[in-house]
């Protein structure tokens, strides 16, 4: 199947405005005749649901949490990028576009990324108007800080809780519409399938997580805003409930899954302490504005630190290797995430890791505290320092943080065109759920930007075009497709409940995570990936024989919820490995050991791999088929990425 991304022709800066003009409109009186389903209420979902309801559409919004305010966007710490150039430091829409394309290692679409940079400025205006309390200067104007992969200060922030403040802004806009009756909100409700009629998405099947009731919902369009799939690794910075089920179910109904192997391993997380651990905690990238990353120069010193014979402050300046500053003098500690992560791993591989396990490097604030004073450092990062202290019982004001990379974000996701439509008409994917804007590596503070861009400023335009095309005729809930899909969902639940083996679902999840981290994590090889494929397939087969699920459907049942999600992760994991095997190059977060420069940087193969890999589901236990969307670079010259 040929994949048409529907990127408008013409100069970069005119594509979006021309496209908006060419899109069909739905007249105001007709809008209320359309039902739009929005699944997920994070930044993308809440902003889309609110904006579409403001326009006059009937919106039904769904989240599995007890309130839309809990979506995991709430946990984003560092900030949101926007090309405002308030700092007069040379920023522009084009520079944000260029940084994002380069940061993504030239594996994202020019058209999409330019649009993202273009609407970034509107997002900040919108949020301020909602009452989002961004950080400000004494003069009363908005403050900015720097993030990785850029040499300008364009990141807006609200202490280390930017995601919380932005989400609460979108949640308030959503609440206003719920109060008006234009959005019907379903909480504690999980989407378990998409209903398609004649190849078009016309509704969803949900399970009420309180009563177990399986319901059908009709809509003229379905928007999936269900986040990423980082929890396939078991340990990640995602929330415990974050899952791939909605996206995966859509995939099995025909939506292509693009670039699943592009996962972001974030360099600065609190290291793993043991097998009991249920999740990992991020320490925001913003900390690299003032924190200096280092490891001991020699294995001997590292060994002493690991055995706690000495403490970090006793390591003399000339025994320290500030390896990011040394290797990348122009970007220093603010290199992009993939580069920082790989370098931390390299230190550990060389035996220079610290902490009890040796799987950590230092992030040191001693210089910043000396320069700015403890109070100023606390004002910027106080909540992060507190969080670190709670988890590790170590005071980062007195000794450097120990950090190590952890799974954080997934650049891959459902394939969408320029209109955010999947290849299934009527089915859209927004935010982290889609694959579109970050290429093979996302820059810091760009996830919040993309989620809100999609929800506030893209979908309200592009969805209208589709709705105007299909017309406002009500969706027929009696179409047999609804009953049939509902029946399939119920059968799957019964299959899961019938699993009365000896191993808990959580153990399967942990096993899958170990395989993914070992073979499909920061460094990947042909041999390792091939091995992983066999291991995952065997684990999946074992799951359906030997897993243990307790309770019944007609109640709150965490065991059942988790079983459904893990079953989907077990399928996704294999596709990620297939994708990583297929992509015989390194790019961004996808690092194939076979493909690196002499200096150990990711080496792309543009001749063979400058494409989006979109996978097509062909039935249970059938190999998926690869569809390619060629990436054409008209405006940016492809080079080996350098942050030196």
């Amino acid at each position: 199947m040929s994949l048409d991304a529907k990127i408008p022709q013409g100069p970069l800066a005119e594509k979006w405005s021309k496209h908006k003009f060419n899109l069909k409109l739905v007249n105001p009186a007709n809008k209320r005749k359309y039902d739009v389903i929005v699944v997920g209420t994070g930044l993308a979902g809440a902003s889309a649901a609110a904006s579409l309801a403001e326009l006059g559409y009937n919106v039904k919004a769904f989240c599995f949490q007890d309130s839309p305010r809990r979506a995991h966007s709430i946990a984003a710490q560092g900030g949101i990028n926007a090309a405002k150039n308030y700092q007069n430091d040379g920023d522009s829409v084009y520079r944000l576009f260029y940084d994002t394309i380069k940061g993504g290692d030239y594996r994202a679409r020019e058209g999409n990324v330019y649009r993202l940079a273009e609407v970034s400025v509107n997002i900040i205006d919108q949020c301020v108007a909602q009452g989002v309390p961004f950080a400000r200067e004494y003069g009363g104007l908005l403050d900015n800080r720097s993030f990785g992969g850029s040499q300008v200060s364009r990141t807006f922030y609200a202490r280390g809780q930017t995601g919380q403040q932005l989400l609460l802004g979108a949640y308030s806009a959503l609440n206003r519409q719920i109060h008006k009756g234009t959005v019907k909100m379903y909480t504690r409700t999980e989407m378990l399938d998409v209903v398609t009629v004649d190849g078009q998405a016309k509704g969803i099947i949900t399970r009420n997580l309180t009563t177990g009731e399986i319901d059908t919902h009709t809509g003229h369009a379905v928007l999936l805003c269900t986040g990423g799939y980082g929890n396939v690794f078991y340990l990640s910075t995602n929330a415990i409930g974050s899952n791939v089920t909605a996206a995966w179910r859509a995939h099995k109904r025909g939506a292509f899954f693009a670039n699943p192997c592009y996962t972001q391993i974030h360099p600065t997380c609190i290291p793993v302490t043991g097998d009991h651990q249920s999740k990992l905690t991020l320490m925001s990238e913003s900390l690299r504005n003032d924190g200096r990353v280092w490891a001991p120069k020699t294995v001997e010193v590292a060994e002493k630190l690991r055995k706690k014979e000495i403490t970090a402050d006793q390591v003399k300046e000339d025994e320290r290797d500030y390896f990011l500053e040394r290797k990348y003098p122009s970007f220093g500690n603010l290199v992009p995430r993939d580069v920082a992560s790989r370098n931390a791993k390299e230190m550990v591989d060389e035996g220079r890791g610290v902490g009890g396990s040796g799987f950590a490097v230092f992030l040191d604030f001693a210089d910043a505290i000396k320069r700015l004073g403890q109070e100023a450092v606390a004002a910027k990062y106080g909540n992060l320092f507190d969080m670190y202290y709670q988890i590790t019982d170590e005071d980062p004001y007195k000794q450097p943080m120990r950090i190590y990379p952890a799974v954080h974000y997934t650049m891959g996701g459902l394939w969408v065109d320029y209109n955010l439509s999947t290849n299934v008409p009527g089915l859209y994917a927004l935010g982290e759920c889609n694959f579109s804007d970050h290429g093979a590596n996302r820059l810091g503070a760009s996830a919040l930007m993309q989620g809100l861009a999609d929800g506030y400023f893209v979908i309200p335009y592009t969805l209208g075009d589709y709705l105007a095309t299909i017309g406002p005729k009500p969706v027929d809930a009696n179409n047999p497709a609804f009953a049939k899909t509902k029946q399939e969902v119920a059968e799957r639940i019964n299959r899961l409940l019938a699993l009365k083996g000896t191993k808990t679902v959580n153990e399967y999840h942990r096993d899958l995570g170990h395989i993914m981290w070992e073979y499909c994590g920061m460094a990947r090889t042909e041999e390792g990936l091939t091995k992983a494929k066999g291991l995952i397939s065997a684990l999946r087969a074992d799951f359906w024989k030997n897993a243990l699920v307790v309770g019944t459907n007609e109640e709150v049942n965490a065991s059942l919820e988790k079983a459904g999600r893990v079953a989907d992760f077990l399928e996704l994991g294999e596709l990620m490995v297939d994708d990583a095997l297929m992509r015989r190059e390194s790019c961004g977060g996808h690092f194939r050991l076979e493909s690196q420069t002499e200096e150990g940087e990711a080496l792309r193969d543009d001749d063979h791999f400058a494409f989006v890999g979109a996978w097509e589901y062909k039935g249970d236990n059938q190999p998926e088929v690869l569809n390619k969307e060629d990436l054409n670079f008209e405006f940016v010259h492809l080079t080996q990425r350098s942050y030196k």
Partner: protein, 259 residues
């Protein structure tokens, strides 16, 4: 560490609940409280028993989903953290720990330790917003906001909506929660146009949900994981009385505000 847990078990909203005793064995002091419960739940599951149900999601203290009344205190013994950030090093070997759900009429139990906090959402829906549509807003820097005001609005805005304030209060008052949003928007220039109608609408919904009044005990402030201060309640009272005495005529009937 080995611990004895006394846990509230309740099948659903209609059933009667009771305290059940469990053993938590081989618990590492580095585990979080919820990870300790995970361990207990794994062993219950392996025995074919129903695991203990509790709300949780981000496990980094920001989503507000986790709750738990631990040894008589919301979010346990430590100050300014949520249950997910509470670590077992705060307990000692052999200790008996009592775990109950939030106890308040407007937070009915759904199952075990899970309660229904949708009353909080309904209060926010009644007025916790600035009525601006997407698009057509002015440039973000057009209105300078003094840093102290922006910072104080931010402090109020850090509320995570967990409900610890209600759980801690002998009156099951939601004043701290409601006042945090009223204060945040009431302090910012963007919140001025609806300042008086907002406070009345939110207070009316708070009353309709059955939350009690504030009698200035301060338990909410003491237990709030985000250290939202009582000052917010003063600000809300001030705005509420101003609205009632001088500005009520400006409020539409359907946005609440009835006494």
């Amino acid at each position: 560490m080995n611990l004895t847990l006394k846990v509230w078990r309740q099948k659903d909203a209609k059933s009667t609940g009771k305290m059940v005793t469990y053993r938590a064995e081989n618990i590492s002091p580095d585990m979080s409280f919820l990870e300790m419960l995970d361990v207990v739940n794994e062993s219950l599951t392996l025995k074919g028993d129903e695991p203990i149900h509790f709300d949780h999601d981000c496990r980094e203290g920001i989503c507000g989903m986790c709750s738990l009344y631990i040894n008589g205190r919301p979010h346990g013994p430590k100050k300014a953290i949520t249950t997910c950030q509470l670590h077992m090093r705060s307990f000692h070997d052999g200790e008996t720990i009592t775990i109950e759900p939030w106890r308040a009429g407007p937070f009915p139990v759904i199952k075990d330790l899970i309660v229904d906090r949708s009353s909080f959402d309904r209060i926010q829906q009644a007025g916790g917003f600035v009525s601006v549509n997407t698009g057509g807003v002015p440039d973000a820097n057009i209105i300078p906001i003094p840093k102290v005001i922006a910072d104080e609005a931010f402090n109020s805005a850090t509320c995570i909506g967990c409900g610890a304030c209600v759980a801690a209060c002998k009156n099951a008052s939601a004043m701290l929660f409601v006042s945090a949003k009223v204060s945040q928007l009431g302090m910012l220039p963007q919140g001025q146009p609806e300042r008086w109608s907002r406070v009345q609408a939110m207070v009316a919904q708070m009353d309709a949900e059955g939350f009690g009044n504030c009698t200035n005990t301060g338990a909410c402030e003491a237990e709030c994981p985000k250290e939202i201060t009582l000052t917010n309640i003063s600000r809300m009272n001030n705005d509420f009385f101003s609205a009632k005495l001088f500005r009520e005529e400006g409020v539409h009937e359907n946005s609440g505000g009835g006494e």
